[in-house]
């Protein structure tokens, strides 16, 4: 067999192997997605959205408490995380630039993005839940906010640095202060990019369970009070899936599909916005 034939055969073997690997990987993912859609959609009804949590053994009840809790926890996290993330990103892009502080913060926030989420949960437990003495919704929001800050910081930094310096110089030439230039010129030029980062960070933290386990915990009642334990879709899924009651397990799948719809919806929205901004 000459070298040419051998190379062709090796080539074909490798191409077939990669295709098989791709199909193998994608098969698992579709199995999971298929299960989720099949189990989730069959459970969706008005009862799921409007009903109060079920008692053990009962066949009725819904997830209203968890949906509201999840929304409140994520919204509060966003309210805390957005300003801090954007301000810090603004500082390192506009003030710090390539200073040592700015570069250190860039590296540290890359590391902070990858801190295991359950470790952040234990941290908030130690500084907030333990001193106060009970679990509370706001503690869950805080741990999610800690996960959001580095993501928003990095995208804000990247987006602001894409704004051409000539725009800033034009502002300064008119006598504007730095704050005015940032507020009226830089932010306006970069708003779509920043918003995209914010939405993607919400998608990223929206499906987190581990940081909520020891912070907002769970609550079998409907509440708006963030200083009390609060149900979330994710922790409810965890508890219901582990429970012995079949109806609770079904509810866990319903929660799964609602959560996935929310997270993927935010993710797709962010991607579409990024596509619109950078389509040129």
């Amino acid at each position: 067999m000459d070298a040419f034939t051998r190379r062709k055969i090796v080539n074909n073997i490798i191409l077939v192997l990669s295709t098989v690997a791709a199909l193998f990987g994608i098969m698992w993912l579709f199995w999971i997605l298929g299960t989720l859609l099949y189990k989730g959609f069959s459970m969706l009804s008005l009862e799921i959205f409007m009903g109060d949590p079920p008692s053990p053994g009962e066949e009725t009840g819904g997830l209203k408490h968890a949906i509201v809790g999840q929304t409140l926890i994520v919204l509060t996290a966003t309210v805390i995380g957005i300003p801090l993330g954007i301000l810090a990103g603004t500082y390192i892009a506009e003030y710090g630039k390539n200073s040592r502080l700015a570069n250190i913060v860039r590296d540290l926030s890359d590391i902070m993005m990858s801190v295991p989420s359950i470790v952040i949960g234990t941290f908030i437990y130690a500084i907030l839940v333990k001193p106060v003495g009970h679990f509370m919704g706001i503690a869950g929001s805080l741990s999610l906010a800690i996960m959001m800050i580095p993501i928003i910081l990095r995208t804000t930094d990247d987006m602001l640095r894409l704004v051409p310096p000539e725009l800033r110089e034009a502002g300064y030439a008119l006598g504007a202060t730095k704050f005015k230039v940032i507020k009226d010129i830089v932010y306006r030029a970069a708003i779509t990019g920043i918003l995209t980062g914010v939405i993607l960070s919400v998608a990223r933290i929206g499906g987190e369970t581990a940081p909520l386990l020891f912070t907002s915990f769970n609550n079998n009642f409907f509440t708006f009070d963030m200083t009390q334990p609060m149900a979330s879709l994710t922790v409810t899924m965890y508890d219901y899936a582990m429970s012995p009651y079949e109806y609770w397990q079904k509810l866990a799948w319903a929660a799964a599909i609602i959560l996935t719809a929310g997270v993927l919806g935010a993710n797709i929205l962010g991607r579409v916005m990024a596509y619109w901004k950078f389509r040129k």
């Binding site: 791709a22 301000l87 540290l108 926030s109 890359d110 130690a126 800050i149 369970t209």
Partner: protein
């Protein structure tokens, strides 16, 4: 005039404070975990805690070895499974797949990376664990189980919940993330390099082996290390299917535990100070492990790529 300067000054200071907050949070994270775990560190020491296999809450004896063992073994197995498949997907997406399929399959893979990990865990509990028990376990017994010495790692009958099941679910969870990074690294190879190789008569595999992979090597390795960091700290994908047995199992099929699984299951139930402190100790060890892994991945490999 004066007012606008005041606003300017205030804004700069607030922005600076937010930036410093990032440093403060990370420093506090380390300090608080250390402070909370110090009773346990003083009682059990460092080397002793890492190597002791006894985890017995009623007796107040705590050793981290089973959890650390489970974390490392499940992560390594997950990486060993996920990386070849992910690179296969990346090669498929960049070189083999017809053009009209690249974007949809690529986007699908990226969206799968965004699915909450608890869903992988629930699927593992309800579908994959029974599948392992009924279909995979007999095959493993008939193949790996027959090999001398190694066979012991694959012995035993279990309800499908155990170290291997958790590792496989973990590998499926990190697969889309790893594949997306590998594909992005492959895509960074300039077309002109590939075209020159093709012009010399190279086959697709020749181009992959001699042009694309050498060029993208650092990026792919960095990506693999980031996936490793992700797998280390993952909780929900493994909690359902690991079994939470605080022992070092004789066989990969047996139930085990990991740092994250122990934390998720026992943290809210810890009834004594030493128990809680030992759990914080485990969290600190996990934090340090992932910190080192991420720092190596980011600064040793990905930094070189940026240059």
């Amino acid at each position: 005039m004066k007012k606008s300067y005041l606003a300017d000054w205030t804004f700069g200071k607030i922005a600076l404070a937010s930036t410093l907050l990032v440093i403060v949070i990370l420093a506090m994270l380390f300090f608080v975990l250390y402070r909370e775990s110090s009773p346990s560190i003083h009682t059990f020491g460092i080397w002793n805690f890492i190597t002791s296999t006894v985890w017995n809450p009623p007796m107040e004896k705590f050793g981290g070895a089973p959890a650390i063992f489970g974390t490392i073994v499940s992560t390594v197995i997950a990486i060993l499974i996920a990386v070849p498949v992910a690179i296969g997907i990346a090669i498929f997406l960049t070189e083999i797949s017809p053009h009209f399929l690249r974007t949809p399959v690529g986007v699908a893979v990226e969206l799968l990376a965004a699915i909450p990990s608890i869903i992988y865990g629930m699927w593992g509990l309800f579908y994959f664990a029974p599948f392992m028990r009924d279909k995979v376990q007999p095959i493993i017994h008939a193949t790996f189980g027959k090999i001398p010495v190694v066979g012991e790692w694959f012995a035993g009958y279990t309800p499908g919940i155990g170290l291997l099941t958790a590792s496989v679910v973990l590998s499926i969870m990190i697969l889309p993330f790893t594949a997306a990074i590998a594909r992005d690294s492959f895509n960074m190879v300039p077309n002109i390099l590939k075209e020159s190789a093709y012009a010399l008569g190279a086959t697709k595999w020749d181009v992959m082996k001699d042009v694309v992979i050498p060029y993208a090597k650092l990026g792919v390795i960095g990506g693999i290390i980031l996936s490793l960091g992700r797998a280390l700290g993952e909780t929900m994908a493994v909690t359902f299917v690991m079994g939470n047995q605080p022992v070092i199992p004789h066989s990969l099929l047996e139930p085990a535990t990991s740092i994250t699984v122990t934390l998720a299951n026992e943290f809210t139930e810890a009834d004594t100070d030493l128990y809680l402190s030992s759990l914080f100790y485990l969290a600190l060890i996990l934090f340090v492990m992932s910190f080192l892994v991420i720092a190596i991945g980011k600064f040793v490999f990905l930094k070189k790529v940026e240059r």
